[in-house]
């Protein structure tokens, strides 16, 4: 009935307005109204609607609901035209299943040349361009200067994994919770384990494992053992397994723990999730990279992070792509970068970053020869989630380092 109605309306409007057909673009995003980039979302929509006469319908889902809902949503008529993506294997799976649209015919070379090439190419799969990048990110240790000083820890001295462990011990003995973590969501935990992978194994072993398996090799077992050393110190807040990522951000913003291992989106999130809405002051926060491990094959400049973007679904109209070109534009990205909302992908927009912490992150990514995308996204929906599961199991002390590595390998074999 509803479809019939739509059909009639559609046919009628096609008949009358076939020259200026107005589309309704459904845009699914994960950005709450309190986020710093939200105002520019609204602005982009208003400008685009005024300019083209198309309509953009914004739909918001919270991070975890989004991940749960998207797979079924893409198969229904309610599928969004534009939606959030972290690239990598999850995106490949979506492309393989035929959910995504090749937008090469709409997007212009002139526009593409304004984007960082590495970021733009992250949304090309088997020669098809399926989306547009939005921002890059890096996962680092974040610390609360007051609390760290109170414990007498010098973070500049943290160069090796053991240094981090002693820092945690020192913070803990000062009666301060060393690390906040969102164990319920699992992915915040996997950052630690997989960043140790990046240190211990480096790019070459990652690519080798991706091709031929071997996720249970000694280098990766070593990451598990190192993680268990950390876990043995009981570094996380009480009840961490029932806390989500927004909890984690809120705790850090409220100064309830000294450190957190998180991507640079921590910067706005610790504000918006804190009790006061203010979070920690800029001068009370610092970051440092994951320390090196003994015998590491990776380089200390290697980074773990993301290249996020917007994917276009298979039935999206051309206007959806036009909207994206408007949304990810120099004008908007410069402004957002200045606000410290995220690290932009439009060339030159990083110069607008005023916040020293984010500038430092941008610098890290620029210096990195190997920027590994988050494992849980890069390894695809299945293996990626296994990595999240086993990381959390490791942190909960349920499995051994060998078992953890073994489980990932099994999942890899199962998916061959």
């Amino acid at each position: 009935m509803k479809n019939l109605f739509k059909f009639i309306i559609g046919s009628v409007s096609l008949f009358f307005f076939s020259s200026v057909q107005a589309d309704t673009i459904k845009w699914l995003h994960l950005t709450g109204e309190s986020s710093p980039e939200y105002p520019n979302f609204v602005r982009a929509v208003e400008e685009f609607e005024a300019k083209t006469g198309h309509k953009v319908e914004m739909m918001y889902l919270e991070n975890e609901s989004f991940k749960a809902k998207l797979p079924t949503m893409l198969q229904s008529d309610d599928r969004p035209d534009i939606f959030n993506s972290w690239g990598g294997g999850v995106m490949y799976a979506q492309a393989e299943a035929g959910f995504l649209r090749d937008i090469s015919d709409v997007i212009t070379d002139e526009y593409l040349s304004t984007l960082s090439a590495a970021a733009a190419n992250a949304f090309v799969y088997k020669g098809q361009r399926v989306g547009v990048p939005r921002n890059v990110s890096q996962v680092t240790w974040w610390y609360n200067k007051d609390l760290v000083n109170q414990a007498g820890v010098d973070v500049n001295g943290i160069k090796m994994w053991d240094d981090l462990l002693s820092a945690v011990k020192q913070i803990k003995s000062a009666g301060i919770t060393p690390i906040c973590i969102g164990g319920k969501d699992k992915w915040p935990v996997h950052f630690i384990w997989t960043h140790l992978h990046i240190r211990n194994g480096g790019e070459s072993l990652f690519l080798e494992s991706l091709e031929n398996g071997g996720w249970d090799r000694p280098e990766y077992i070593k990451s598990g053992e190192q993680m268990l050393e950390l876990v043995a110190l009981e570094p996380f807040q009480d009840g961490w397994l029932s806390h989500t990522w927004p909890d984690q951000a809120g705790f850090f913003g409220d100064g309830k723990c000294a450190m957190a291992f998180m991507g640079n989106w921590m910067y706005p999130a610790q504000k918006s999730n804190s009790a006061s809405g203010e979070g920690l002051g800029d001068d009370n926060m610092g970051i440092f990279s994951m320390p090196m491990t003994p015998g590491a094959l990776g380089d200390s400049a290697d980074t773990l992070g993301g290249i996020n973007g917007w994917l276009v679904s298979k039935t999206a109209p051309d206007s959806a792509v036009e909207f994206l070109m408007h949304l990810v534009s120099a004008d908007i990205q410069n402004e957002d970068a200045a606000k410290g909302a995220y690290l932009p992908v439009v060339k030159g927009a990083d110069k607008s970053i005023t916040n020293p912490l984010l500038a430092q992150v941008a610098n890290n990514i620029g210096n990195s020869q190997y920027h590994q995308i988050f494992y849980d996204q890069f390894l695809g929906p299945d293996i990626g989630r296994v990595v999240n599961d086993v990381s959390t199991d490791l942190a909960a002390g349920i499995i051994s380092a060998e078992e953890a590595a073994q489980l990932v390998q099994e999942s890899w074999e199962f998916n061959q």
Binding site: S65, T72, D77, D78
Partner: protein
Amino acid sequence: MFSNFRSYYMYLFLFLLAGIIFIPLYVSIAGGFKTIGDLRTNSLGLPTEWIVSNYTSLLVDNKFWLFTWNSVLYAAGTTFLVILLASMTAFVFAHMKFIGSRFLFNYFILGLTFPFATAILPLFLRVRDLGLLGSVWAVILPQIAFGLAFAIILFRGFFRQMPSELFDAAFVDGCTYSQFYFRFTLPLSTPIIATVAVINLVGSWNNYLLPLIMINSESLYSWPLGIMVFRGEYITDWPKILAFVSLTLIPAVVFFLALQRFIVAGLTGGAVKE
């Protein structure tokens, strides 16, 4: 004396138990009126300051009413169609002799042992391939299908107990089967219709898994989906979540107290009559 002593302990026990049942409901409703700080330090007491905005902001929220309305739609559609289809089928089993009737009846009975979660993925594919995904039918049709078996059994049992004289007399008067069904069977079956209605209304109203998988657009969310999304957005802002919880709690309790007889008879009687 001994008896009084014993009944003293019995009442103590019963009141204690009633307290354990009540406290979670009370703290939810009271919690919805508290500030987060009040909730943390004073979770059992009455609110030190009554914050009504958690409730009122929901009551003026169109989404809240939309989710409620959608749930009404799912429940009413499912219940009406289960009653109609199951009673028609049961009527055939109760009053008509035909080859294969026993086999067919057993075929339906089989449905009793199928928890619908087991076939949720093929069910999803079926609904998708029929192009129904994200429509009200994606929820209603599977709910009907899984409600039929039990309803048919209940209806058949009831129809069989109807006096056969009535049937014979009607036939002599030239009444057809379908006329008999509409004129006599249905009007005389209100008790069993009430039982089947209660089972399906409550089941559909509270259903979570099916809408979770079938419904994607917020405009069709049932209230359990809505409340879970709300929970996802407000995480630790418990007063807001508890206010939402309480707002769904109150109508359920009122509905239950008002129609207690029907509901208890429906939910337990339905089980016992099997």
